[in-house]
């Protein structure tokens, strides 16, 4: 069994590990580093529960290999949450019941923040389109769109 050495930054901390080529980024984060906020759902790119940031851009953690992340900067919900960057979004999700079981929530927050970081107040259609790759089986999405829209408006008025 061949292995590879990878060095990367995860949530601002340097990490050096030896991985099998077949190890996906999300399994690396969860199983090797114990960062279980990124979730494993469908494992073929449909549900979006494994969304993380790779060099600043959101990606599917199940469709990226840990071996490809040598030298990269990875951010997970743990790091983004601790940094306080999405405190307002998290608060809006809680206030508007934009989550129930919470399985999709970490990825939904990162995807929402990706849209909000583009600035302005996106239309509800644009919000729906942006989160179209993230399945939620509890909420029916309405409350999620409400939460994202309200944060966009609040940030615009800040």
């Amino acid at each position: 069994m061949s292995t590879l050495d990878v060095r990367l930054t995860v949530n601002g901390e340097s990490v050096a590990e030896t991985v099998e080529p077949r190890l996906t980024l999300v399994d690396f984060l969860r199983e090797t580093l114990g960062l279980t906020g990124s979730h494993v759902g469908c494992e073929h790119g449909v549900c979006g529960a494994c969304t993380v940031r790779l060099d600043g851009a959101i990606v599917r953690g199940c469709l990226t290999l840990a071996a490809q992340c040598d030298g990269a900067k990875v951010e997970t919900i743990e790091g983004v949450s601790d940094a306080g960057d999405i405190a307002d979004l998290q608060d809006a999700f809680r206030r508007r019941n934009a989550l129930q079981c919470g399985f999709c929530t970490p990825a939904m927050l990162l995807t929402a923040q990706d849209l909000l970081a583009q600035g302005g107040v996106p239309s509800r259609d644009t919000i729906r389109e942006h989160i179209s790759g993230n399945y939620c089986r509890c909420t029916g999405y309405q409350a999620i769109v409400d939460a994202i829209e309200s944060v966009a408006q609040a940030r615009a008025n800040r």
């Binding site: 080529p21 077949r22 996906t24 599917r60 729906r128």
Partner: protein
């Protein structure tokens, strides 16, 4: 599921990738954006013993517009095309297709070369390239060659690429004054593979069209040009073009063949309106 074990090599150049593919005893596959390949590995629908990663090979990505020709490097990611002012101006068909290609997190990784090489029959870019009469650049052991998009797609997930070839770029005429494009697709969820889709290019003057190219996806094993409907749309009417649609789509998990055929007509009406400047 988890992928079966494989070895991994990072190619330093296109030649290095060709050598790695050729030297390997067993099945080796190129890893571009990985947005289809890694899904098939996870599902164990594919089990190569070596992945040759061409992310990081210099010179394989980028967009250039020169002398009326648009060239896109194989490793250019969808997000780059989506945000490119050159693509918006000189390749509006690609720009129109982009929002339909999966979701933001997938467009951040997926590449045009990967999409074209994978040749999913329901994917947008293969049909766009056939509509644009594009050329595909291929590098292999015997050197470089160029294949017309219309000859590149051979069948279901089957292309002109050999086992040890690397798709390096695609090229097509810039869309200039007098050329119009149209694009529409139907999917159950925004960003999913199309149930039926249509990419179109035509010369236009007022409401009249000529040199119409209509290419459907999701209705056959590969992009499907409908020449009778093209002629009818150029010379006669949208209704005649719909009557002239000689499609025979197979039923699949998304819809029956009859539904797809009906939807193909619906899309033709929408795309014809775009070409005629009504939408």
């Amino acid at each position: 599921m988890k992928p079966a074990a494989f070895a991994y090599a990072k190619a330093r150049s296109v030649d290095d990738a060709i050598r790695l593919l050729g030297d390997h005893k067993g099945e080796a596959k190129l890893l571009a954006g990985g947005q289809s390949l890694i899904a098939t590995l996870n599902m164990r629908l594919s089990h190569p013993s070596l992945l040759v990663d061409i992310n990081g090979v210099a010179g394989l990505d980028g967009i250039s517009v020169e002398n009326g020709t648009v060239e896109i490097g194989a490793m250019t990611r969808h997000v780059t095309l989506e945000r490119s002012s050159d693509i918006a101006k000189h390749a509006p068909l690609i720009a129109r297709a982009m929002p339909h290609i999966a979701h933001p997190a997938i467009r951040n990784r997926g590449t045009i070369g990967g999409s074209v090489a994978y040749a999913d029959p329901a994917a947008e870019l293969p049909a766009c390239l056939v509509a644009l009469d594009a050329e595909v650049d291929i590098a292999g052991k015997g050197g470089k060659r160029t294949v017309k998009a219309g000859d590149f797609f051979k069948g279901l997930f089957e292309t002109a690429l050999g086992m040890h070839d690397v798709l390096t770029a695609v090229r097509f005429p810039a869309t200039g004054a007098g050329t119009r494009v149209g694009f529409a697709e139907l999917a159950r969820r925004h960003g999913d593979y199309a149930m039926v889709g249509l990419a179109a290019v035509a010369k236009g003057s007022g409401k009249s069209l000529s040199d119409v190219r209509l290419v459907y996806f999701g209705v056959g094993a590969m992009p499907v040009r409908v020449r009778k409907a093209e002629a009818a749309l150029a010379g006669r009417s949208v209704d005649d073009a719909i009557k002239a649609l000689d499609l025979d789509p197979q039923s699949d998990i998304q819809a029956t063949g009859d539904v797809k055929k009906h939807l193909a007509g619906v899309l033709l009406r929408r795309v014809a309106a775009q070409l005629m400047g009504d939408a």
